[in-house]
Every structure is written in structure tokens, then in C-alpha cells.
Assembly symmetry: C2
Homo-oligomer: 478 residues x 2
């Protein structure tokens, strides 16, 4: 039995989801506040998840031809100012560097909130001919936005992310790349993080500052709130015109490039916590679990127990599994609780009697199931179970999402759903920002996206009753 | 034959080494200047080298128990000010953020030039008991120092690095870790970058601001100048006392921790260029070459040539080798030059006659040797050659270093060596900073380190003639 003391240290999800989240982040030692206001520290357990996300997402980028680069973290004010919508969107929330080496700067610079302007400035010189296209660049870095509130992984003044920036010869190619990267994100979320997402387009009100079109993947958290989990933007030639990024095409005429950008952040870790976690703590999908299997010896002082645990650990390591033995002097019950709190997908229990009988017990973190396993079959059974856990977590998350996705034909229906059984609300929209604003004002819900898979729920806008143009996913969001 | 035009675009090393370096960096497309003063962009070919350095160095760190974390990029002024020597060393060269989101900050913050103060602030809360020790943390990030000059990879206002920060229960353990990480660096340089290094201790004049002892690895560039390639610092309990980092030891008394930090930067890429490069461009050690083998088809329009090239590429990929085919419409000679300029370790030449005879030609970048290879043996022969190249590059670099390491007993001797055949000069030193200052003033040479392997070159200081305490490596440095 797991020791209850550790678990009691976290608030129950039903009681206070926000507090549950903070407790889990703290008790699982993922992240902590710092004395730098608005900034967080990624502790080893939290950063290791990010490393696993990075390496697997990066491999998917590279398969599509993307190359990594690194651009400066500073943006001179004149550069930020070049694209009108972009500067309006970002200037109010940047940090300004005004002094360098004790002397005031001639021109102040902001710490990048995003790097479109820097990439444009770079592409302007780097692109001359159609032969130089496409440029498919990405960078992993941190960015700064001067937020007022801080929530671990979800919102902080500095956060880690990747930002892809591409330049193409044609509008079609740019649109294709925008959708391609959205699909990379969606597949990654489902296959690696076990988080099902809705793919769609943002309304003009919600799109990125400077974009022609913003596409998004939206996920539903356990508490029924939505989380924007990745976005992909098509800039058309707007930035190219503002920055003068031209190339000589095959027909020997000078043309503007078409650009895209796309990003995901450490928010994904927050999403994973809020989609899969439970009252015992974190539940990690095996593909991003820094430790996939924790071996916990029972009666470890008895002869041969620690030695057997160590040898099982070696065997699993050789089979390519991320595994550890907890041979500390805590009680097994306490160790169980810790393993559960940290979301380690699988536990191996091994004691003197098991050793005698040539078996061990495997306990799944996701559903609590325990099975006996012959020691001969340890590697295969462990690999099978990890694969099942990964698969089942997605199935469960999808079922939860679907069970909390509703349709509404009237404002009253929508309001009632959001107030009683929060989730995604599918409802029709006339296309006017006025209605979006009203829905936000009345029920604190925003348009999450106009999904690619449209349904005709009714013929009229849920808000104004005028003819409907689009079905929209609405929700209260993080 | 390689096409000469591309090569002619770079200055010869003998003529102007500094210009040769800049030309190679530019022509091999590693890095470029930006319109952000003092900041560089890592282009794909340059960043890919850094990724290979990161992954292999990171694995070595983790083998010693180090965990990765991420701390904020900002340091509030009051935090930077806590350790007296440290702030004196760094405050004059930091960038200050004074405004966030359009409002002046209550307290200005600098962008981290290094993160000792942030780690201390974190450890202060995170360490309570001897059970929490040691802490073995590292982070990969960028840091900012307001330099006046910029040289690609060697010096820029923002650069990429890793910084390890550890906390220990005893002074002995901290010293052990300091030396252990220096050894990790030295082994990495020799085994991965094929750069031989001298390990030693910095004089007090040259040590890190706030350190009790700084250890260094020093490498010799092709032009005879020295490059500090990695440093490891023992802080004793100085920072712990300034920040109040205490723990309850096993004997139930409160003690200060002992700390270390250690770092390497993208300078390592500069070192690699300047140690191995030649008049045809870059020469990359196979272990950090993003492309290890370039397959260049000859008469590629003839039937079967491109198909064969592609199938050889597939075979090498399957064998775990990083390989590409250059099937562009440039001439083979031009492709040879490009492959050489980019430092790709091995070239496979394959044409219609080769295919008929079931063979190809393998050309080594490091020494220009060409061998025929039966297509049946492609994988084994390629792997063998890559291993030989890696090994031979270190041997060659060590021979060059040794041939340019001299001893001097007088100032005149030292001056003559530095002015005619630059390199490391081993000479005795009395231990007084006065003599270090004088040597620097007279011949622009600095003490690189007091090597672990001491020799007794004479009994008296090369500068003042007083009794000698240490043999020192002197040199002109980057």
C-alpha cells in the first residue's frame, strides 16, 4: 500500500484544481518559484521532461527538412518597430535593456518576446535567389514577456520554447508548411504526450500579431478548461514587404518571399500535468517520463533483495528502458507514494518471496493495475506494459475530452454548460468580432478555434441570431 | 581535382591568420554578423556542430551524476551584489534591464553574465540537510557580456555555453569535483574535438571573480596563440557565506556548503577551426561533423550514377553514419571544393566506370589521401577511415603543439620565441603578480596556467631572478 502522508500533502483535484496543480508541481519537484519576480526555475525532474520533449520534437522537425539555428536574444527598438501589427502586439509586454557595460545604449533593445523581426533581418541578407529557398529554420531558446501573473509552466516572464521560421517562394508553399507544422504538433501531442487536440484556425481577434492566418491545436484539461498547445502562423508576404525580403525568381523577376512561423512552449508540460494527473500526483506518458520504471525492493535488508533489484535494473537498462532502483532507507509504502507522486509509469516490486518464486509484481501508475511477472519475461512484459500505458492514456484523455465537448444553440445553453459541466462548447458564429467580444464579456469564454472539421449545429449565430458562417469551439482557457 | 575558385576566396593562413579564420567561418557558413551590434547568428552548419558538442558533452556530465536544470536569465542587482569579488569582476560588463512592459522596474536586473548568484539563491532554499547534498546541476543557455570587439565563436556579447554549479558537504568533495570536471573537459577535447590540452591551475591574477582556485585547460592554435578552452572553479565556502547556504550535517551541526562551477562555451568551435583548419577551409573531426561523408557523383547524368549514389547513401545511413549526396547541378570539382571548405571528413567519389568495376574512391579531408574501396566493403571501410581520421587529427595536433612548446630561462629568450616562433613558453615564476604584470606589459603574454605536470626549468623566476615557485605556461592568447 502506498503511504498516504505524501499524498495528503496535495489538495484533491475536485476540491481545488488550481491548488492541486501547484501542489503537484511542487511535490513532484518539477519547478519552483525564484526570487526573480515572475521567473521560475526548472528543477531536474521538470527539465528532464523538457529534454525528452525537445529531442523527440526536434527529430520530427528535422524529418521535414528543418535546420536549427541560433539568433541573438536582443532586438533593437527600430527593428521591432518595422512591422506595424507586430510591434503593437508585443511592444507593451517586453523587457528593455537600456544600459550595457555601465553606459547608456544609443538605441534601447528588448529581450526577444518572439523572433520574427530578427529572422526577417537575417533573411533579408541571406536570401537572394530562388535557389536559396525555402529556408526552414528553427531555434530552441527562451523568450521574455512581461506577464503580471505567474503559473508554473503556463505563464511566466521567461519561458522556454522553440520557434520555427520559414521563407518560401510561393504563397501556396507557405500555407502548406503552416499546416504541415500544425500537423507535426498535433501528432506529437497525441503520440508522445498522449494529449488529443482539436486542429483549427484562430479567428482574426485571436490571431498572432502580424499574421495573415493563425492555426492552433487546442487541448482540454481535466477541469474542463482549454489550453492552446501550439500555433502555426502564415504571414503571407507582410513581413517580407516590411523588411524588404526579396529574391530573384526563375523567371528573373524580383519577388517577395512568403513566410511562416510556429511555436510550442513548456506549456506542453503544464498540459500534460492537467490532462493526465490524478489525486496521487503526476501521471507521465512513458515516452516523456525521465524515469519509466522504478524498482522498489521489499524487505531490502534481507539477503539478495538489493542485489536482485540491481540486476533487474541492469537488464531493463540494457533493453533501452529508463529505470532506477529506489534503495533509500524509506519504507516501501513511502517509496510507492513517491513513485506515484512523480508519475513514474511503472513500478516493479521485488521482495524475498518474489525472488524465491522467480517473479515480481508490476504496478501501472495510470490505472493502478498490478500483474505478476515471471522474472524471465521482465524485459518483454515491461516494454509491453509501457506501450499499453502510452496508448491507454491517450484513449482515456480522448474519452474525457469527448465527454466534455458539448453543443449549444443559444447563449443560455452555452452559459449553463460552462457554469455546470465545463468543457469545449461547439456553437455557430456569424463571423463578427462583436459576438466574440460579447461571449467573452458575458461568460468569460473565448473562441478557441474554427476547427478544420466543421459541423452544422444550427444555421444561426449562437449570439446574435444572424446567419452563421462557422462552427467554433468555445471555452474558458488557461 | 578540387575547383580552386572557392578556395581562392579565402586568405592563406600564412599570409593573415585572422583573415583566414573569418573567411573560413563565412565560407563554411558557420556564423554571420547581425545588425544587433556585437551579436552573431549561428547558421545551420555552425549550430549543428554545437548540437553534437552538446549531446556528447552532456552524456559525459550525466555519467558523473550531473542533472540539468534551467534558472532565470535575469539577476536582480541586489543579488549580483552579494559576493564582493564576483560583482567587481562582472558588474562592469553586464547589460541592464531597466523597464518591463513600459514601466520602470523597481530594481534593475542584469542579463546573466554567469549564474553563480542565481544558483546560490536557489540552493539557499533547496538545501537543508546533508541528505540534500551533493547538488550536481548544470544548465545549457546563453549569457551576455558587454564586449567591445566581436570575433565569431571567440568573443561576442551573447554566447552559448554550459555552466555547471555544484554544492558539497565538504571542502575535499568540492575540490575533487572541480578536478573531475576539468578532466571531463580535457578528455572531451582530446577524444571528441581532437584537441590536446594542458591542464593546470590559473594564477590568482587570472582566476575567476569570487573563486578560491580556478583550473583551466589550455590549447594551442595553429598560429601559436593560446586559447583557454574550459575552466573549473572551486569556490570553497565563500559564496555559501555570502548567501547563507547552510545545511544540518550528520552530527546535527549547521555547516556551510562548499561549491564549484565549471563552464565551456562555443569558443570550442573556434578552437577546433584554428587547430585543424587549413588553406582549403575547415577540417572537422568526424565525431562533431554534422555530415561525416559526402557522396559526390561523377558524370551524374549517365544512367545509374545518381541511383547508385543514393543507394550507397542509404547503406551508410543504416550503418549509423551521417551522410549526404551532393546531387546539385554544380561540377564535381566545385563540389569537391565545397566539401573540403565545409570540412566534411570523408568524400566518396562514384562514377560510371567505378560502378562498372564495383568500386568507389574514398578521399580523406584531413590529409588528402585517396583510396579505392570495393563497394562491398563500403560500410566497414568508411567506419575505419572515420576512426583513423579522428585519431590522426589528434596525433597531428599534438605534434604541432609539442613542436611549438618552448622553454625560456630569460626574458630575452622568451621575447625572441614569442616574436619569431609563437607558441607556449614554459618558464619559471616567483609567484608575484608584479612579474606577471611585467611580462604582460613587455611582451603581451599572459600566464596560461601552472600545469599539473611541473618541470624544473631553472631555479629562478624568468622575470625577477628571485627563487622560482612554479613553472608556468606563458603565451599570447585569444
Amino acid at each position: 500500500m502506498a503511504d498516504k502522508k505524501l499524498v495528503e500533502a496535495i489538495t484533491s483535484m475536485e476540491e481545488d484544481f488550481a491548488q492541486w496543480y501547484t501542489d503537484v508541481v511542487k511535490k513532484a519537484e518539477l519547478m519552483d518559484y525564484t526570487s526573480v519576480k515572475g521567473c521560475m526555475v526548472f528543477k531536474p525532474a521538470g527539465y528532464a521532461i523538457w529534454e525528452l520533449i525537445q529531442s523527440q520534437m526536434d527529430a520530427r522537425f528535422k524529418e521535414t527538412g528543418v535546420e536549427n539555428v541560433y539568433l541573438p536574444m536582443f532586438i533593437p527598438e527600430s527593428l521591432l518597430n518595422k512591422e506595424k501589427d507586430h510591434v503593437e502586439g508585443f511592444a507593451p509586454e517586453v523587457a528593455w535593456v537600456t544600459h550595457g557595460g555601465n553606459a547608456p545604449l544609443q538605441e534601447r533593445m528588448c529581450v526577444r518576446p518572439t523572433s520574427e523581426t530578427l529572422f526577417c533581418d537575417f533573411y533579408k541578407n541571406d536570401i537572394q535567389s530562388y535557389r536559396d529557398l525555402p529556408k526552414l529554420y528553427n531555434q530552441w531558446c527562451s523568450v521574455v514577456r512581461w506577464e503580471k501573473e505567474t503559473r508554473p509552466f503556463l505563464r511566466s516572464r521567461e519561458f522556454l520554447w522553440q520557434e520555427g521560421h520559414t521563407a518560401h517562394a510561393t504563397a501556396e508553399e507557405a500555407e502548406e508548411r503552416t499546416i504541415q507544422m500544425l500537423n507535426v504538433y498535433a501528432d506529437f501531442c497525441e503520440e508522445v504526450l498522449a494529449i488529443p487536440v482539436i486542429k483549427g484556425r484562430k479567428t482574426d481577434k485571436e490571431k498572432f500579431a502580424g499574421a495573415e492566418a493563425t492555426y492552433t491545436i487546442e487541448a482540454l484539461m481535466h477541469d474542463g478548461k482549454a489550453l492552446q498547445s501550439g500555433t502555426s502562423h502564415n504571414f503571407g508576404d507582410g513581413f517580407a514587404k516590411a523588411f524588404g525580403i526579396q529574391f530573384t525568381d526563375k523567371d528573373n523577376t524580383l519577388k517577395y518571399v512568403h513566410q511562416t512561423s510556429w511555436g510550442t512552449t513548456t506549456r506542453l508540460i503544464g498540459a500534460m500535468i492537467m490532462v493526465h494527473g490524478d489525486d496521487s500526483g503526476l501521471v507521465l506518458p512513458p515516452k516523456v517520463a525521465p524515469v519509466q520504471v522504478m524498482i522498489i525492493p521489499i524487505q531490502q535488508k534481507k539477503e539478495g533483495v538489493l542485489e536482485t533489484a540491481a540486476s533487474l535494473c541492469d537488464r531493463l537498462k540494457k533493453a533501452g528502458i529508463r529505470v532506477k532502483v529506489d534503495d533509500s532507507d524509506k519504507s516501501p509504502g513511502w517509496k510507492f507514494s513517491e513513485q506515484e507522486m512523480r508519475g513514474i509509469p511503472l513500478r516493479v516490486e521485488i521482495g524475498p518471496r518474489d525472488i524465491e518464486e522467480g517473479k515480481c509484481v508490476l504496478a501501472r501508475r495510470d490505472n493502478g493495475e498490478k500483474v505478476e511477472c515471471s522474472l524471465d519475461e521482465l524485459e518483454t512484459k515491461t516494454a509491453e506494459l509501457l506501450a499499453s500505458i502510452q496508448k491507454d492514456m491517450l484513449v482515456r484523455a480522448r474519452a474525457h475530452r469527448d465527454a466534455h465537448t458539448y453543443t449549444a444553440k443559444t447563449m443560455d445553453e452555452m452559459q449553463k454548460i460552462l457554469d455546470t459541466t465545463p468543457g469545449f462548447v461547439k456553437a455557430m458564429w456569424c463571423g463578427e468580432q462583436e459576438c466574440e467580444d460579447k461571449i467573452k464579456e458575458v461568460m468569460s469564454a473565448t473562441s478557441r478555434c474554427m476547427p478544420f472539421e466543421q459541423e452544422q449545429i444550427s444555421d444561426v449565430c449562437v449570439c446574435c441570431g444572424r446567419p452563421a458562417k462557422k462552427m467554433v469551439y468555445w471555452g474558458r482557457a488557461y
